[in-house]
């Protein structure tokens, strides 16, 4: 399949995905007798060999429990594990590595904020603002909290192009607003939200801001100090890392005044049956044996991405997206859901008269892996009045040829449905 030269962006080839594809063994596999075209990166990204190897290396040479032993292995494992905290601090430009809490994922991180900060600070009649484009992970914990303490959830509407309605947001803020929880990048629409402005307005109203960064960190430079967010959550597996690990960033003073989340080993300084002294931040929030190998692997993922350069990744992915958008728009009956001006590399669409699950099944027959369904964002589906969409999401290892394969597979779907 040839690239459609007419509409290919006129670009110097400064980014060659082929250089990186060879690092990802899974990209060589076949699906249904054809080459895999993996376009489900927003759900989970694939892992390069160096990260896979780091697991073997760690388990073969350094594994022991952390923060516990005086023996050499435990010390080495602890050092490697703790070193990743500073890598994460640098990745998101936090002030201190003590502001980096290891969690089991974005979902876990957001639940942690709701259960600790939320329970401590939110009471009857207080308002929590969330946007209409949130992932269920940034909806459900707030509903659970609100139900428990008698708080009120208010939903910031989004526009037809899938952007937060900033006028509506501004007018919803009041001295009752205690928390604003928004996603940095929407997994269902691709929209990049103006988090810095949203944070500023929240702070002016006396609220704190919690940002779901699951889709942002892998695709763009994130600076939590510049954004001035109070909490920021993301998952390792969406950035070439392992599952079972996430990060919660929180401003130190806020973390320091928060009660712990789970109780257990490692999160305490001393325990008697009369009195318990909790450990310092961040350990206070890390009860039990943490995902040690996952943390060490994620350290490798960060190095891998840094070696390519997150700015170059952003730039390349946005070229891929604009090419995919142009080609998709040529398909009759195709409607793109999410047409914000600022978008990450997510292409969500519907095809007239064809259910997304049928599209997904037929694309899979051509080896094209996309996500179909509600993307854990049912309110977004309701907003756009569709039961589900088909979503192609791109990573830096995807090529323009793969976009073409997606497009030709969509044409095949239309052929089948006549």
């Amino acid at each position: 399949m040839n690239l459609n030269q007419d509409i290919l962006p006129n670009r110097e080839i400064s980014f060659d995905p082929i250089l990186y594809r060879k690092d990802f063994p899974i990209l060589n596999r076949e699906v249904n007798g054809t080459k895999l075209v993996y376009l489900d990166n927003a759900a989970s990204m694939q892992m390069p060999q160096v990260v896979i190897d780091s697991f073997v290396d760690y388990q073969s040479r350094f594994h022991a429990n952390v923060h516990r032993g005086v023996h050499t292995l435990s010390q080495e494992a602890t050092d490697k594990y703790e070193a990743v905290r500073s890598k994460i601090r640098d990745l998101i430009h936090a002030k201190s590595e003590n502001e980096i809490i290891y969690t089991y994922g974005t979902t876990d991180a957001l639940n942690m904020v709701a259960s600790t900060y939320g329970r401590q600070n939110i009471s009857t009649g207080d308002e929590i603002l969330i946007s209409e484009m949130e992932h269920h992970a940034n909806i459900v914990p707030w509903y659970m909290l609100a139900k428990e303490v008698g708080a009120i959830i208010k939903v910031i509407p989004i526009t037809d192009s899938g952007e937060i309605n900033m006028d509506a947001y501004t007018s919803m803020l009041s001295n009752r607003t205690k928390i604003v929880a928004v996603t940095h990048v929407s997994n269902a629409l691709g929209t990049i939200n103006p988090v810095k402005t949203i944070a500023e307005l929240a702070h002016q109203a006396g609220a704190i801001i919690v940002v779901d960064g699951a889709q942002a960190v892998p695709h763009a430079k994130v600076d939590v100090q510049d954004l001035n967010c109070d909490f920021y959550a993301f998952s390792a597996h969406k950035m070439c890392g392992p599952t079972g690990l996430g990060v919660l960033y929180g401003k130190f003073d806020i973390l320091n005044s928060m009660p712990p989340y789970r109780g257990g080993g490692d999160m305490i300084k001393s325990v008697t049956f009369e009195h318990i002294i909790f450990n310092d931040v961040p350990f206070k929030f890390e009860a039990g044996t943490p995902p040690i190998s996952q943390v060490i692997m994620f350290g490798e993922s960060i190095d891998y991405v840094n070696n390519i350069g997150i700015d170059r990744i952003s730039e390349y992915e946005s070229e891929l997206l604009s090419y995919a958008t142009k080609r998709a728009n040529e398909i009759e009956g195709l409607t793109i859901i999410g047409t914000a001006v600022q978008k990450a590399s997510v292409l969500s669409f519907t095809l007239k008269g064809i259910h997304p699950h049928d599209i997904g099944t037929i694309l899979d027959q051509s080896g094209v892996a996309v996500r179909t369904g509600h993307h854990c964002a049912q309110p977004v589906m309701d907003r756009f009045n569709v039961p589900a969409t088909t979503r192609a999401s791109f990573a830096f290892y995807n090529t323009f040829e793969e976009v073409d394969e997606l497009i030709s597979a969509i044409h095949q779907v239309k052929e089948v449905f006549g």
Partner: protein, 151 residues
């Protein structure tokens, strides 16, 4: 696309998805049930008229869903109309077994007839529920349950 898939889709789509049979309501109906697959958003409502001899005299459905669920519902209505409740139940069981891959329609005896076109879904684990949703809904309507979900 392999041949079985082509056959599954083409035959179904050309026929039942585009022109679903018995796509209407029955008012009043003797039995009704609602089927819902939250994963896909497939929704269907099934209506039955059953006479004194326990024969399904009329059956109809309305709803929204993917091609597989819609075609399955449509074909189901054409097949069970005129059957007794017991016969319909037997078809439900066989259809279910075929979709799960425990009944091999090529080698094992069955009464599925043209419904065997759905045997292709056993290769599509994520889609089995789409094909079986109408049958589960029928099953619960026959048992007087009002609502089922496949989750």
């Amino acid at each position: 696309m392999n041949d079985r898939m082509k056959q599954l889709y083409q035959e179904l789509i050309l026929d039942h998805n585009k022109n679903p049979r018995n796509f209407r309501t029955i008012d009043p109906a003797d039995r009704e049930a609602l089927g819902h697959n939250p994963l896909c958003g497939d929704k269907l409502k099934l209506y039955l008229k059953i006479n004194d001899q326990n024969v399904i005299e009329d059956v109809a459905f309305i709803g929204d869903g993917c091609a597989i669920s819609k075609a399955s519902a449509s074909m189901m209505t054409t097949v069970v109309k005129g059957k007794t409740v017991e016969e319909a139940e037997e078809l439900f069981t066989q259809f279910h077994e075929m979709s799960m891959g425990t009944l091999n329609v090529d080698t094992q005896e069955n009464k599925l007839g043209k419904l065997t076109i759905f045997s292709g879904v056993r290769d599509l684990p994520a889609r089995v529920k789409c094909a079986t949703l109408p049958w589960h809904t029928l099953h619960s309507a026959l048992h007087n349950k009002k609502e089922i979900t496949t989750e």
